[in-house]
């Protein structure tokens, strides 16, 4: 199972991250169809309500779109403004993590290397 990645996050959040990860890696592309809630639940052996919650949030974040009676599709990646609420909130989270890394004594070069790896899609 891909979901349950040992992160300790709720399963719906893991699923959201998993879908986004597949999008940035190009495994899922704009216009691609996602499995229905039922099929995704079967595939991941998860409660359908959990999958449904993940899909709703992905929809609210404009990552996917549901065409009634047809299915759920990956949207064109919108270029999000650097000052949008979502970016600001995520930046704040990143800064919290960076503070911790500094406290743990991880040098800047190392962190920059990780960031580059993440952006280039290199598996850890």
């Amino acid at each position: 199972m891909q979901v349950n990645d040992q992160s300790g996050l709720p399963y719906y959040e893991q699923l959201i991250l998993h879908v986004k990860q597949q999008i940035v890696q190009g495994i899922l592309q704009p216009g691609d169809r996602l499995p229905s809630v039922r099929d995704m639940a079967r595939q991941e052996q998860l409660n359908p309500n959990t999958v449904s919650k993940a899909y709703k949030q992905l929809e609210a974040q404009q990552v996917i779109t549901t065409v009634h009676g047809k299915g759920t599709y990956v949207r064109e990646t919108a270029v999000v403004a650097g000052d949008s609420a979502q970016v600001v909130a995520t930046k704040k989270q990143l800064f919290t993590l960076l503070t911790e890394l500094r406290y743990l004594g991880v040098p800047l070069d190392e962190v920059v290397k990780w960031i580059k790896e993440a952006y280039q899609g290199v598996e850890q």
């Binding site: 079967r42 409660n47 359908p48 919650k53």
Partner: protein, 297 residues
């Protein structure tokens, strides 16, 4: 549409087995039921379905008591694993009995599912392997077309393939939001991703109603190592101890706040690492009192 259990109690031989059990259950919901052996899970199921007469309390389906309106019981399915009459019957004969109670029994689907899982309609129930029996039990539950389905230890002793088949059928069935499941299991990992909520039965009572996804949002499981061998006050106050080995502490903190985080870091732990939180951890945190803080002096 909802099923409500209200203050249900049952004593057997003057011994209270379940006491003051209340919870709501809606179609589309999978509820897990966990508790140590002998805590009364099966008694709860038998009382819910009126196989045992409750001392107190009632079960309401759509607002109607199942004792005063017995027809409502058709919406509730429970096949007793210990005491049932199926042993000597062949698979093709069994639906006849269930059709008497469940007027909407889906005969066609029953036959189709037997074929799908390569179950011989001429086999006697008692000659089935454990895995086959588990499948037949679930097939009967689904084809009864009851809205509320109780499964008592449906994963017990099954290989990984049968387990996955059973979980998949439950997921498939619940996805339409027309049916609800109440599942007892010792396989806590199996219930973990499957359930919306997990009820914990302890000392005859329901002591917890966990919404696992919500708990994961606020709770943290940590592995900690401190230099000296005393347990910091912040942990005594906010955490439940899961395991100790040497200097290594594994704790669950149900409401992890930035304050707790700061206090922990201020103690300069040698190690502070987050671990994934499982249902098993919550189970241990609540039930394993013998691994209390007194272990470390």
């Amino acid at each position: 549409m909802t099923l409500q259990v209200k203050a249900l109690s049952k004593a057997i031989n003057h011994q209270q087995i379940i006491e003051d059990i209340s919870f709501d259950w809606a179609p589309g919901e999978i509820i897990g039921l966990v508790g140590r052996n002998g805590v009364g899970k099966t008694t709860l199921f038998r009382t819910l379905t009126n196989q045992y007469v409750a001392e107190q309390g009632q079960v309401l389906i759509d607002g109607q008591s199942t004792t005063r309106h017995p027809l409502q019981q058709r919406q509730l399915f429970f096949l007793d694993g210990q005491y049932n009459f199926l042993s000597n019957y062949r698979l093709w004969e069994i639906p006849e009995f269930f059709r008497l109670v469940y007027a909407q029994f889906d005969q066609q689907r029953y036959q189709d599912l037997l074929v799908q899982f390569e179950l011989d309609r001429n086999s006697q129930y008692r000659r089935l392997s454990k895995g086959m029996r588990a499948l037949v039990n679930l097939i009967l539950a689904l084809t009864s077309n009851a809205t509320y389905i109780i499964l008592d230890e449906p994963f017990d002793g099954l290989d990984v393939i049968v387990r996955e088949n059973i979980a998949t059928m439950v997921i498939d069935e619940v996805a339409d939001q027309q049916k609800g499941f109440l599942i007892s299991s010792h396989d806590l990992n199996e219930l973990d991703g499957l359930s919306d909520r997990v009820l914990l039965l302890k000392d005859s009572r329901l002591v917890q109603d966990y919404h696992l996804e919500e708990i994961r949002e606020t709770a943290k499981k940590l592995q900690l190592v401190f230099n000296d061998k005393t347990i910091p006050a912040v942990l005594k106050e906010h955490s439940q101890l899961i395991r100790v080995s040497g200097r290594v502490l594994v704790v669950v903190i149900t409401h992890y706040t930035p304050e707790i985080d700061q206090q922990l870091r201020a103690l300069n732990p040698v190690l502070l690492e987050e671990l994934p939180l499982t249902l098993e951890d919550l189970f241990r945190a609540n039930l394993a009192h013998d691994t209390g803080y007194q272990l470390m002096k």
